[in-house]
């Protein structure tokens, strides 16, 4: 059993509780043991690194130090924002100017750990082949849009995962569930980030065009891997509709929820009910219908 330190991050304790729940469920299903980092603290996010590089590094670094002390060599966090902070702490640890104060504050170095996102863990440690094998309730016939957000694969030198312009890992995982995955041009466009709070209209504009493109490509749902993206696209979808005078109704599930669903898990266990825009459309079983439609054709 693969043992991975789990850095939950603040969002997964609040507005993104369903991401936490479904992450646990999916990892368990694939034999990955998540070791929660004891007494973890907030990584500081953008506010911390806009204040001082050392603050950001030390806040995030403390969690890595605990993970290392817990005997883990890999740390996974579902939140790309947190991941950026964790990687930032590791970078600080390698920076000749910051290393000393960092180690003084945090108590040890943390550059030996491997830090990954949930998506990277699922893609590299589980992989589409294993997922395809484990699917019990294929999402055949559903058109799902993969949306990665800006930080998951960027900047490439730091993320060291997938392609910065056209990532495909989530595409492959979604295809493994049986879903149809169109080429989505806005995979890494910014959703409006934290401006939901301070500049609501930015989210209206930026998340709005992501939702529009989703609809344009016939997507039934837009699948995300970031709590902030999810909040902007889902929780604020009504605000966006108001802003751009549209009437979109696109569910925004997390990748872990979609995989869980395909594995045949109980939607409630995956926290599907917590999504603001109802994901009911995803529960339609089209496999049979498709099979019937294709059956005679295939025979002929």
């Amino acid at each position: 059993m693969k043992r991975v330190a789990y850095y939950k991050g603040c969002s997964l304790e609040g507005l993104a509780a369903e991401y936490d729940r479904s992450t646990h469920a999916v990892c368990e299903a694939f034999g990955i043991e998540l070791v929660e980092i004891a007494d973890w603290n907030c990584c500081g996010s953008t506010p911390a690194h806009s204040y001082d590089p050392l603050l950001s590094a030390a806040l995030a670094g403390r969690n890595l130090a605990i993970a290392a002390d817990q005997g883990c060599d890999m740390v996974m966090t579902p939140c790309p924002g947190c991941l950026k902070s964790l990687k930032g702490a590791q970078e600080a640890c390698e920076d000749p100017g910051l290393r000393k104060p960092f180690v003084e504050l945090v108590g040890r170095d943390v550059d030996g750990l491997k830090t990954v996102s949930l998506l990277q863990l699922l893609y590299e440690e589980v992989g589409p082949v294993a997922i395809k094998k484990a699917v019990r309730r294929p999402l055949t016939g559903h058109v799902l849009i993969p949306y990665y957000g800006c930080l998951l694969t960027r900047p490439a030198q730091k993320a060291k995962f997938d392609d910065p312009e056209n990532p495909v890992s989530m595409d492959r995982l979604l295809e493994a569930t049986g879903a149809l995955v169109p080429d989505f041009p806005y995979k890494t466009e910014c959703c409006g980030a934290t401006y939901g709070v301070t500049r609501n209209d930015f989210v209206g504009k930026l998340s709005g065009r992501i939702l529009d493109m989703t609809a344009r490509l016939g997507g039934e749902a837009i699948v995300v891997a970031c709590p902030l993206c999810q909040q902007n696209l889902d929780m604020r979808q009504d605000q966006i509709n108001k802003y751009q005078k549209s009437a979109l109704h696109l569910p925004v599930p997390y990748i872990s929820q979609v995989i869980g669903l395909a594995l045949g898990m109980d939607p409630k266990e995956l926290g599907m009910d917590k999504l603001c825009v109802s994901p009911d459309i995803l529960f339609e079983d089209r496999a049979e219908a498709e099979g019937k439609a294709q059956g005679p054709g295939a025979a002929a």
């Binding site: 609040g14 800006c150 960027r154 980030a193 604020r236």
Partner: protein
């Protein structure tokens, strides 16, 4: 900043500023040739007072006051599109971040409300060790004097059980507070030695 005035490039050129930006960001800004790729990539160009290409140009010219007083540096969401596509491998987002820190330091933050949100966020971290979303937003909105923002979201979130009313507390909050204090004491000095730097309460947490 009057954009109509003639810019006296020689007089307003602050070479120390160029050096400081390069040191803080670890980037060589002279590599920028203003191709506009960052501007074309940036999702927030529509909102910036100076598009990011021009921010880079202003840094090259050492125009400290204009740059540190610009709203662009505070509207940057750090989405890395500019950094990813820069043909000269400049980490532009990192330059923007360095400029934000410097504008705090020089007390020239052009968008106090964004800084206020960041500060509120950090206060939450400092107090609880984690961010208490349910608490953070109303407090910020109250301070920003727009208490009804996002009011529309509350009922649904309540119904979904997404709002929690008690902050989760980190046990070793003292350690977190200590990190803040040490960083505050040693701010902006890379070598970790204390550099006395009077900071107004407005620019600090």
């Amino acid at each position: 900043m009057e954009r109509t005035n003639t810019l006296s490039i020689r007089q307003s050129r602050d070479t120390d500023f160029i050096r400081e930006v390069e040191e803080a960001s670890g980037q060589d800004v002279s590599k920028c040739y203003q191709c506009g790729n960052c501007m074309g990539s940036c999702a927030y160009t529509f909102a910036y007072d100076y598009p990011v290409t021009q921010i880079m140009r202003l840094v090259q010219l050492g125009q400290k006051d204009i740059v540190l007083g610009s709203s662009a540096i505070w509207l940057c969401a750090n989405c890395q599109a500019c950094t990813t596509r820069c043909p000269n491998d400049i980490d532009v987002a990192r330059v923007m971040e360095a400029l934000r820190i410097m504008s705090r330091k020089s007390d020239t933050v052009s968008l106090p409300d964004i800084q206020a949100f960041y500060d509120e966020f950090l206060r939450s971290v400092k107090t609880f060790g984690r961010v208490f979303e349910t608490g953070l937003l109303p407090i910020y909105n109250l301070r920003a004097k727009k208490p009804f923002t996002d009011f529309d979201l509350a009922p649904r979130l309540l119904m979904k059980g997404k709002l929690t009313f008690f902050p989760a507390l980190v046990k070793k909050r003292k350690k977190i507070a200590e990190i803040f204090e040490v960083v505050k004491r040693d701010r902006f000095s890379k070598d970790g030695k204390a550099r006395p730097e009077p900071l107004s309460s407005k620019t600090d947490i």
